[in-house]
Subunit: 107 residues, 2 copies
């Protein structure tokens, strides 16, 4: 991906109630599928779980720009995800980042 200075890149570190991990994964999957489909400014949403601590989730997020990120927060699918997962999430840390190198195979 060509790094653009305007890109908004963020990492989310999320800890889930282990008893609710499966419904959380379903909710975040649904949210990502919808965001990618209907929001062209949402470039990447990679959600993974730590293999040795599956309730620890990392999400790597690239938005076209700050405006695309702000707009994403106002969408129905994001608000629905936040409401559905509110009681599943034990902690959430959003970390704003500055890209050094975003390397990927051409697709």
């Amino acid at each position: 991906m060509n790094i653009e200075q305007r890109n908004y890149v963020q990492v989310a570190d999320i800890e889930i109630d282990p008893a609710q991990l499966e419904p959380y994964k379903a909710a975040v999957t649904r949210q990502i599928e919808t965001a990618i489909r209907v929001e062209p400014g949402v470039l990447v949403l990679y959600a993974v779980s730590e293999t040795d601590h599956p309730a620890r989730i990392r999400v790597f997020e690239i938005y076209r720009d700050m405006e695309a990120y702000r707009s994403h927060l106002e969408t129905a699918h994001f608000r629905d995800y936040k409401a559905v997962t509110e009681n599943m999430v034990r902690s959430l840390k959003l970390v704003r980042t500055t890209p050094i190198m975003l390397g990927e195979q051409p697709r």
Copy 2:
């Protein structure tokens, strides 16, 4: 990206000596550029720095499979990166992950 069960997905949490951040960034950029160009099994290497704590680096890594990851570790460019950055890195944690959803715009 279509998630494949065989994909090897890892996050690296790296803390750099702040005095050596610029040469570290140059070395990791060079390593990623080369890996993406010459290793088709290296699918994604996204290196970012925490905006509020720039010496904290996160790298999100997707390899085609475990074999591609192992092969990457043996390349000259990766070995060179490790040697050059050895005294720049204060701590390194490699976290194996299990993908939940890898969403991205078609490119």
